[in-house]
């Protein structure tokens, strides 16, 4: 009897334990990824990765993480259980950011130094298309229907609208200087684009491609030069946008029904990007200069913790616990 119990326990120990909720942070200057346990809000693991890691995201089933190892010119695939790098995927030169198509198979990549958007097939492990875009392609978004991909180009100051079937640009929208991030609303009716030097968050109608509004930010005692919108996230219910404001060291909370800024959360220095928990109660911001992550409780609407990570944290991705 006793023996059976022991071996059952041993078996359980051998099989993988259920994974906790985690946030993975790419540290641009450390060539590492810090893994934060959401329950304890501590870094539980730090893994060595390729050179200059920036964009990071999970597969739709959360079994692997994809990471842009920019200076190694590759996308790394990391097993979330073992934390091991499974293989490197072709990415084109200097991949900075990317987005996974709803089909779970195609990754759209910004090749920063080459003015190209590359489309990678993760199953065949090859680049299936390369699309010339403006200078310094950066932000990436794909609508939920999977029909339109967006690339923003930082020096060309445009959002390029690309047909995901034909891989052709079918429209170009001028935005403020140095557009960074892009995201569609859940209903695909609006596209949001942040402009780092322009200082605004631009909202486009996806039918007419016309700009609906440019949301501006003002913070007492912060110079307008330092208000530089970079990464942002929209909520599922399309009521809020959380916008990282770079050297303003703030996250803006924006009501995207009325296009009003509601609140600013103080975070670490030079905030780049963020990850949101799937239940949209927690936000994790990467603060490049201070080398930490600020956790914001979105229910209580306040920052609750700062977690030290590696040097120059850049990207962030959330994965839920295994059920």
């Amino acid at each position: 009897m006793i023996r059976t119990t022991v071996s059952a326990l041993a078996l359980m120990a051998l099989s993988a334990p259920a994974l906790a909720q985690e946030v993975w942070i790419s540290n641009e200057r450390d060539q590492t990824v810090s893994i934060i346990d959401v329950q304890t809000m501590e870094v539980v693991d730090t893994i060595e990765v390729g050179a200059r890691p920036r964009g990071i995201m999970f597969s739709h089933d959360y079994s692997v993480a994809y990471l842009c190892a920019s200076d190694d010119d590759t996308i790394q695939v990391i097993d979330v259980e073992t934390r091991e790098i499974l293989h490197n995927l072709p990415s084109g030169e200097n991949p900075e950011t990317f987005v996974l198509h709803p089909d779970g198979r195609h990754i759209w990549i910004s090749n920063e130094d080459d003015n190209i958007t590359s489309v990678l097939d993760v199953e065949e492990r090859r680049i299936v298309a390369q699309i010339p875009v403006g200078i310094e392609p950066e932000g990436k978004a794909i609508n939920h229907a999977g029909t339109i991909a967006i690339t923003t180009s930082e020096t060309t100051n445009m959002a390029h609208w690309i047909d995901t079937e034909t891989h052709e640009i079918f429209n170009n929208s001028l935005v403020g200087s140095r557009p960074r991030d892009a995201e569609f609303t859940t209903d695909d009716k609006r596209l949001f684009v942040s402009a780092e030097i322009g200082g605004g968050l631009h909202v486009f109608d996806t039918e007419t491609f016309e700009e609906i509004v440019e949301i501006r930010f003002e913070i007492p005692d912060v110079h307008p030069h330092d208000i530089q919108p970079v990464g942002f996230r929209l909520t599922e219910d399309m009521t809020r946008a959380y916008v990282a404001l770079g050297p303003a060291n703030r996250i803006a909370v924006v009501d995207i029904e009325n296009y009003e800024v509601i609140k600013y959360h103080q975070v670490g220095r030079r905030v780049w990007h963020m990850a949101m928990s799937n239940d949209e109660t927690l936000l994790f911001t990467t603060n490049g200069v201070s080398g930490d992550v600020t956790v914001i409780d979105l229910v209580r609407q306040e920052p609750i913790k700062t977690i030290q990570v590696g040097r120059f944290p850049w990207g962030a991705a959330y994965r839920p616990a295994d059920s």
Binding site: D113, G134, I197, H225
Partner: protein, 389 residues
């Protein structure tokens, strides 16, 4: 051949598909007057021959990419006037075909060009001359300046020194005109920001002292009162680079050597600058110099204005560039704009040694009612320029 055709047809698709497409040609001229380079002590640092030109070429490449999506066709003609050739003749030839010019020439040459009857209504960018007078008493409505003035450079350095509370200074100046002008700017900046230049000495540049620096400089600097930093105004980089570690007192050197304020430094890396540095390296096979940056910024300013106005008319572009809506992302952390009272481009300015960035003024705490960038150089209330009224 095939590749070229493919690209062309791709462009054709964009042009047909995109709304608001207007086909516009934007011819820009790059015009340079070659100058005699002063002999300096070291023979190791030979300046590249294509400073400025390569910046304009990169600006063109950047504009062309954006233009390909909008039906805007940019070109840059390149005219380099050799020493001894007739500058104004060359300028007239260029002006006959171009209304937008990027000029790399000494202040007096630039001024003579701007005053030609043919230059009336042209849009001329000064990408190299740092003289204060060009922005003040002799400012011209048809000239904008992407290169910062001596005063802006001096102010950038002085803000940094004052923010570190290194306010006791001494200065060594060279004897060339540029040295005198920069030294004067440093004196004015010290007064403006509350630092003290406690003593000054002029370096007699007649002797070659590469072999006895270690004996000459300690003696030369022995009488200086105590100071935090030794300023040097030696724009050609003649004796200045030898000052550090050879003075009587071990103090950091700043100004033309040591920590140097400039329009650009190849040590700037943040704000996406690494990408600009890399693009430049691919274009020119060397690092980007201040005049390259100023020429690049001039061509890009034209590009930004054309993109937003869909016009190639120099008057329209000038108005837009000087207006409130203009902003150029220029890899220095703040949107670049132009002063509407004298056409000077506002900009943060790196203070850097040859190996590392030291600071990027304006420094925190130097406040201004409209733009902190206007804490660098002469501000609106002080300007003597009336051509922009």
């Amino acid at each position: 051949m095939n590749r070229k055709t493919a690209l062309l047809s791709a462009a054709a698709i964009w042009i047909m598909a995109g709304p608001g497409i207007a086909n516009i040609d934007i011819p820009i001229a790059y015009l340079e007057q070659q100058v005699e380079r002063p002999a300096v002590l070291t023979n190791l640092d030979r300046p590249p021959e294509d400073i400025g030109l390569m910046g304009a070429r990169l600006g063109l490449a950047d504009n062309a990419q954006t233009g390909s999506f909008l039906g805007h066709e940019y070109s840059v003609s390149e005219t380099i006037v050799p020493l001894g050739d007739d500058w104004l003749e060359a300028a007239r030839t260029v002006l006959a075909e171009h209304r937008i010019l990027v000029v790399h020439a000494p202040a007096e040459k630039l001024l003579a060009l701007a005053d030609l009857p043919e230059a009336e209504g042209a849009l001329i960018f000064n990408a190299s001359a740092e003289s204060e007078a060009l922005r003040e008493d002799t400012c011209r409505a048809n000239v904008l300046h992407t290169m910062p003035s001596y005063a802006m450079r001096a102010d950038a350095l002085m803000q940094f020194l004052v923010s570190r509370r290194w306010t006791d200074l001494v200065m060594i100046t060279g004897q060339r005109a540029a040295d005198m002008e920069f030294a004067e700017a440093l004196r004015n900046s010290a007064t403006k920001f509350g630092a003290r230049i406690r003593a000054e000495r002029e370096w007699d540049m007649s002797s070659d002292m590469r072999r006895n620096i270690g004996q000459e400089f300690p003696l030369f600097t022995q009488d200086f009162p105590s100071h935090h930093v030794m300023l040097v105004a030696d724009e050609a980089g003649d004796f200045g680079p030898y000052l550090e570690f050879n003075a009587w007192e071990p103090r950091p050197v700043a100004g033309s050597a040591g920590a140097r304020p400039d329009a650009w430094s190849d040590r700037v890396e943040a704000y996406g600058a690494a990408q600009l540095q890399e693009r430049f390296r691919r274009t020119a096979d060397r690092t980007m110099r201040p005049v390259d940056y100023a020429a690049w910024a001039a061509v890009r300013s034209v590009g930004e204005a054309v993109t937003r106005t869909s016009s190639a008319d120099p008057d329209v572009l000038r108005d837009y560039i000087l207006g409130d809506r203009f902003e150029l992302a220029a890899f220095k952390g703040a949107a670049i704009t132009f002063r509407d009272w004298n056409g000077q481009m506002r900009q943060p300015m790196p203070v850097a040694t040859r190996t590392a960035l030291v600071a990027m003024p304006p420094m925190e705490g130097f406040l201004h009612q409209s733009s902190t960038l206007d804490t660098l150089g002469r501000d609106r209330p002080e300007t003597a320029c009336t051509a922009f009224n």
